[in-house]
Symmetry: C2
Subunit: 426 residues, 2 copies
C-alpha cells in the first residue's frame, strides 16, 4: 500500500454486525446484489466494475474487509486488480504502476462513499418490503433481466426492484420511452396521451418516468388503451412518487410495471432522476421527447438514448412555446428526428410488425387526376364565360389541335362543357 | 422532314404582321427576349435551349420561319441541331438519327405551342406598360441579372420584368425566401412576420410570393423593419395580385422589388404559380417554409430549393395543426432542418456576417454552479429540519469527511447553514 497516500482519516468506520452477518450468512447473491443497490448510488461505475469482477457477494466481502483494514484490502489483488481489469473503470488492463495507483485511489474513494451505508444495511428488510408490495428483485442473468441494460457497461443497474410484470426482458423488447417536461402545456399532455394510447394499440410498451406532465399523460394514454406501460422511478418502488400520480402509478403497477434500481425506502434525489433517465433510455427500443424546455431532464434521456445508438424522436410544437424549445434544439442538432404521431414513432422504433407511417389521406379532386397539359388547359378555360379553342390555346400556351383533343377528354370527365362552338368550365 | 409525322393539321397558322415587323425591325435583343417571355410558358426548356443556342432574336426569326414552313425550319440545322446540342434538352449532342428525330419532334410540338401566340405578340406594348409602372426589363447578362437563376439551366427565366429595385443581383445576394400557406393560422402569420422583420434587421432581403397568409406576413414584417423585400409574382407586374394585398405589394415595389418572368397582362394561372416557385427557390440563399399543409405549393418551393442544393428550413408547429403538417414532413424527410427564429435562419443562410444562433439565455441558479458531488450533497441536506454530517453522508452516498469539506463550501455560498452540530438548507 505504499502507493496510496493515507492522509489523516479520523476514526475508521467500523463494520457493523448486520453487514458481517449478511456477508458470512451464506453468500446469497440476491441479498448481496440488493445490498449493493443500497450501498452504491445508481451509475457508480466503480461499484459496477467491482461487482462484475468479483460478483456481488465477493465484492461485498471485499468491502467489509476493506473497511476493517483499508490499506490491505484496497491494495490487494481483489481490489485494484479487479477494477483495473475492467474496461469501464477507465484503468487499462496492463496495470502499470501509475494505473494501479490510480485504481487504488479510486477504490479508496469509493470505499469512503460506501462505508457510511454499511451501518444501516439491511437488504432482508428491503426485500420484505418488496415482497409485501408483491414485487420481484431482478438480477442480471435472470430470465426476466433486460439485456439491453448491459449497453450501459459498468454504469448498468446492479438490480431492478420491480412491482408488476417482472418479465421485463419480454415486455421491453418492443417498447418506446415517451418522456418530457413536468411543466407541460395542455398541447403537450394531449400529444403525449395520444402517443401513449396509439403506441399501446400498436403493441408497444410505453415507458416513462411517472412524473407530472408529459410522463403521466403517456402512462394514462397507455392504460386507457389497455396496453402495457412501465414507470421507472428515481426512488424506491414502495412509494408511488409523486404523490399526485399515486392512483395512476398504482394502475401502472397493476397492469404493467413500476420499477427502480434503488431499494424500497430510497428517496428520489435529483441525481437519481438523472441516473434514472439512463435506465429509461437503455431499456427501450426508441425514445421520444414530447415537450421539453431548454433545461429539461427529458433532454438528458434523449441524449443518453442517442449515445446508446437508440433512435430518438422529438415532437415539434409552436416555436413560440418555451415548452417545445428543447425538442426543437434536438431537431436542429439532429439528435432527434421529427415525429408527429404514433405511426411516425412506430416507424422510428422499427419494431417487427410496426406499420410504416402511412402517407396522409389525400383529398382527390377530379383535377388531381389530370396530366400536366390538361391542368394547364383547365386553368386556361374560363369559368364564367365561354371561349374559343384558339383563345384557350393562346392562354394556355398549347397547340390548338392538342387543345381540341384535350378538351374532349375533359368534357368526358365533366370538367368542361361546350357552349355553342366555345368552351367553359363545367 | 421525312422523319416528322405530319398528320392532318388543319390550316397552318399564318405569321402575323406584328411578329414579322418585330423580327425584321432591327433584331433588338430586348424586344425579342420580351417576346419570348410571352410566347413560351415559364420553364419551357425547349424555348430555353433554343434561345440559349440562337439568341432570342435568332430563335424568334427561326420560329417565324418555322411557322411559315414547318417542315424546312424544324428539320434545319438551326432547329434540331440547336436543341440537340443543349444538355438541358434531353437530347445528347452526338445527334444520332433517333436523337435528331426526337429533337425535331419536340421542336415541332413546341412550335405548335408557341405559334398561336405569335398573332397577338406585341412586346413594345408590354414594355410601354412596364415603363408606365416605372419598371425595368432585365436580361441574362445584364449587370442586375441574378446569376443564381442560371442554376435552373434551360428552365431559367428568359427575362425578369421588375418593378422597383432592378439591381436584383445585388439585393438577392443575401436573401431568404420565406414561404408558406395561404391558409395560414395566426400562429403562422405571427412567426412569418417575425422572420420577415428579424431577417430584414439582419440585412437579408426577404423574398416571397406576395400571396395571402405566410407570404404577405413576411413581406409586411420586412417592410415594417424598413428592410428590402421582394415579391415574385406568377402573373404580370402591372397587376398587384392578389387584390387584397395590393397596398402591401405597392409598398414592396416602392422599397424593394416586385418581379415576374411573364410580361404585363399575363394572368396568374395555377401552373405559373408552380413555375414561379422555382424562381423563388433559385433566387435566394436559403428557403424557409413557415406553415404548409400536406399539399401546399410552398412544399414545391422547398423541394426545388433542395434540388438546387440551397439550404432549406422548416418552422415547426403543433402536430395537431394541419397547417404545419407539410413542414413536419419536410423535417421528417430531412429535406429541411428545424428553424425557430431569425437567428436559426441567418445561420442556415450562412451569409457573411450572419450571427450564429446564440444559445438560449440561461437562468443561472446558485445550484447550477455546483460540482456533481456538491449537487448530490445539496439534494441530501434536509430543507425543513437539520441533520448530522453522518446522516447527510449516508443519504448522499458520500464519504463523511468529504461531506464536511463540501458543506463548508456550500455554507460560504449561503446554500446551507449550521444549526448546532447539524446542517440544513439555507
Amino acid at each position: 500500500m505504499d502507493d496510496l497516500t493515507t492522509p489523516d482519516r479520523g476514526p475508521a468506520p467500523t463494520v457493523p454486525r448486520a453487514a458481517r452477518l449478511l456477508v458470512f450468512d451464506g453468500d446469497d447473491p440476491r441479498l448481496a446484489a440488493a445490498a449493493w443497490s443500497r450501498l452504491a448510488e445508481p451509475g457508480d461505475v466503480v461499484a459496477g466494475a467491482l461487482v462484475a469482477q468479483l460478483g456481488a457477494p465477493g465484492a461485498l466481502a471485499w468491502l467489509v474487509d476493506a473497511v476493517a483494514d483499508p490499506g490491505r484490502a484496497v491494495a490487494g489483488a481483489g481490489g485494484a486488480d479487479a477494477l483495473a481489469g475492467d474496461p469501464g473503470s477507465g484503468v487499462p488492463p496492463g496495470l502499470p504502476p501509475a494505473g494501479r495507483r490510480r485504481a487504488a485511489e479510486r477504490l479508496a474513494a469509493a470505499v469512503g462513499r460506501w462505508a457510511p451505508r454499511l451501518a444501516s444495511l439491511d437488504p432482508r428488510r428491503e426485500l420484505r418490503v418488496l415482497d409485501r408490495c408483491g414485487g420481484t428483485l431482478l438480477l442480471p442473468g435472470d430470465p426476466g433481466w433486460p439485456t439491453r441494460l448491459d449497453d450501459l457497461g459498468p454504469a448498468a443497474p446492479l438490480v431492478l426492484w420491480v412491482r408488476g410484470r417482472a418479465d421485463v426482458a419480454s415486455w421491453s423488447r418492443r417498447s418506446v420511452a415517451v418522456v418530457g417536461a413536468r411543466a407541460a402545456t395542455s398541447y403537450g399532455e394531449r400529444v403525449s396521451a395520444e402517443l401513449g394510447s396509439g403506441l399501446a394499440e400498436r403493441g408497444f410498451t410505453v415507458v416513462s418516468g411517472g412524473a407530472y406532465g408529459i410522463d403521466v399523460a403517456a402512462h394514462r394514454g397507455a392504460v386507457a388503451a389497455e396496453g402495457t406501460t412501465c414507470a421507472v422511478l428515481a426512488g424506491g418502488v414502495d412509494r408511488f412518487y409523486p404523490q399526485g400520480n399515486e392512483d395512476v402509478l398504482r394502475r401502472v403497477a397493476a397492469t404493467g410495471a413500476v420499477l427502480s434500481e434503488v431499494p424500497p425506502g430510497s428517496a428520489p434525489f435529483r441525481q437519481r432522476f438523472l441516473a434514472r433517465n439512463r435506465v429509461i433510455a437503455a431499456l427501450t427500443s426508441a425514445t421520444v421527447v414530447v415537450e421539453a424546455a431548454h433545461r429539461s431532464g427529458a433532454l438528458s434521456t434523449a441524449r443518453r438514448a442517442a449515445e446508446l445508438l437508440r433512435p430518438v424522436g422529438a415532437v415539434p410544437g409552436p416555436v413560440t412555446s418555451m415548452a417545445s424549445a428543447g425538442c426543437h434544439a434536438l431537431l436542429r442538432d439532429a439528435v432527434a428526428v421529427c415525429v408527429t404521431g404514433p405511426d411516425d414513432v412506430a416507424d422510428l422504433a422499427g419494431a417487427v410488425g410496426a406499420e410504416v407511417a402511412a402517407p396522409p389521406p389525400r383529398t382527390e379532386l377530379p383535377r388531381d387526376a389530370l396530366g400536366p397539359d390538361e391542368r394547364v388547359l383547365w386553368d386556361a378555360v374560363p369559368a364564367r364565360s365561354a371561349a374559343s379553342v384558339d383563345s384557350v390555346a393562346r392562354a394556355a400556351g398549347l397547340d390548338p389541335r392538342r387543345v381540341l383533343t384535350l378538351l374532349g377528354g375533359l368534357e368526358r370527365r365533366g370538367l368542361v362543357r361546350r357552349d355553342g362552338g366555345r368552351w367553359r368550365r363545367d
